[in-house]
């Protein structure tokens, strides 16, 4: 995948909780990436095997709403996105994002 600001931001948001579940809208908020960019990127990550997806169990839902789709990082995803972040740290193109690595 091409290394872009959006990818680095999403990678940071995902690696904030490497073993947790991530939701589309929350991920968009945490990464600061528009959903118009985020969802196609999530699809590519699924295709590449960086993420797996699943659906909430409807029986465990407290309120009356449809189950949401979640995303989880795979081992490959953790490794590859970690490498993306490592490279981004040294890349001057992503200097504006450096404060988020701290």
């Amino acid at each position: 995948m091409r290394k872009t600001h959006a990818l680095v931001q999403v990678a940071m948001a995902l690696l904030d909780e490497p073993t947790g579940r991530h939701w589309g809208y929350d991920l968009s908020k945490r990464s600061g990436v528009r959903s118009g960019v985020l969802y196609p990127m999530l699809t590519r990550m699924l295709d590449e095997g960086y993420l797996t997806d699943g659906w909430e169990d409807p029986t465990t839902l407290q309120d009356k709403r449809p189950p949401r789709r979640y995303y989880e990082l795979t081992d490959k995803g953790r490794r590859e996105l970690g490498a993306v972040l490592q490279e981004a740290r040294q890349d001057t193109r992503f200097a504006s994002l450096q404060w988020r690595f701290a």
């Binding site: 939701w23 809208y25 929350d26 959903s35 118009g36 969802y39 659906w55 449809p66 949401r68 789709r69």
Partner: protein, 156 residues
């Protein structure tokens, strides 16, 4: 100023606000996601994600989804349609194709045969009519080589 306040606090304004921030985003989103292929999980995902979006952000969020669907959903739908068509073609038994081709071939052969028959009939009629005209125009007994009516008279 008073009119402006009245306009803002009128029932119609309230109705409009309820529509824009209430039911309209859901309805629009449901229509928008129809561009995805029927079995695409993004359809359900976007509808369920709408509940997580704060009400005041919903109209803009739905507008953003239109962009996503336009670029992602339409492409998926086109690919799905192409895949379905090619799968159908691959699954269709070749015997069926052969039978269809044979049937079309037979129809064509029959057509050609009928055309041949019709042409032959016309040719026979034309020959018969020419023969009748010859008989009417020319006498049945052939003139001799010395007679002037004979067409071969001048020829060596």
């Amino acid at each position: 100023m008073g009119e402006l306040i009245d306009a803002v606090t009128s029932r119609w304004s309230l109705l409009l606000v309820l529509l824009v921030f209430g039911s309209a985003p859901g309805i629009c989103l449901r229509l928008i996601v129809l561009m995805y292929p029927p079995n695409d999980p993004r359809r359900r995902e976007l509808i369920s994600e709408l509940r997580a979006v704060p009400r005041f952000e919903r109209p803009l969020w739905v507008a953003e989804q239109f962009e996503v669907v336009l670029f992602e959903g339409l492409a998926h739908r086109l690919l799905a349609t192409l895949r379905r068509v090619s799968r159908r073609r691959a699954q269709a038994p070749t015997d069926e194709h052969d039978a269809r081709d044979k049937y079309i071939g037979n129809l064509f052969d029959q057509f050609i045969y009928q055309v041949d028959l019709a042409l032959a009939d016309h040719q026979r009629d034309a020959e018969r009519r020419i023969q009748q005209l010859r008989e009417q125009l020319m006498p049945t007994s052939k003139p001799g080589p010395g007679q002037p009516d004979c067409p071969d008279a001048d020829q060596p």
